[in-house]
Symmetry: C2
Subunit: 106 residues, 2 copies
């Protein structure tokens, strides 16, 4: 994305984040960022999920901060450009949810 990201306003943040919070995302205490822990059957599934997310990250030119330990993947999303949450995080989080569901159902 070439356009500079704009930090979400409080009201818009609530509207956009509510559906993600319902899926288990949470807003971090220490940063203007959202976070979720995913757990899969094994490493193979966890990494398959990461591969799916990486495709979206590449396409959106927006990247997660993520940690993988065996079947677990912890993801934090924020936008360095605007030093906080932007619509890019919401969009990436939605794709992440789809990927997690796809991989878990396979």
């Amino acid at each position: 994305m070439s356009q500079r990201a704009e930090r979400l306003q409080e009201e818009e943040k609530r509207d956009l984040l509510d559906p993600l919070m319902a899926e288990g995302w949470s807003v971090m205490d220490t940063r203007d960022a959202i976070h979720k822990k995913f757990k899969f059957k094994d490493f193979k599934k966890a990494f398959k999920f990461m591969q799916g997310v990486a495709v979206h990250a590449d396409r959106l030119d927006h990247h997660p901060e993520w940690t993988n330990v065996y079947n677990k993947v912890d993801i934090t999303l924020t936008t360095h450009d605007c030093d906080g949450l932007s619509k890019r995080d919401i969009e990436l989080a939605r794709h992440i949810e789809e990927e997690a569901k796809n991989v878990s159902q396979q």
Copy 2:
């Protein structure tokens, strides 16, 4: 791997770790584990590296603890089975070095 991993003895640890230390790996202060930070040109390269490592991890049935933020990948290796470093960590670290070199040279 079906065989239970054995924790490396001090002398054998020195011999096996020396070549890895020369490549920039370090032994952690807080855990019997080794650690290295890798940096690539961009996310695409970093993730390509991770994909290469994942193939080895799967084959060896031994997995890294790793964090990726854009072009950076921080890796910690230890063996939960024996609560410390084993030959599996050394073997995986060697493959990780090869993958990093391959991806950086491409």
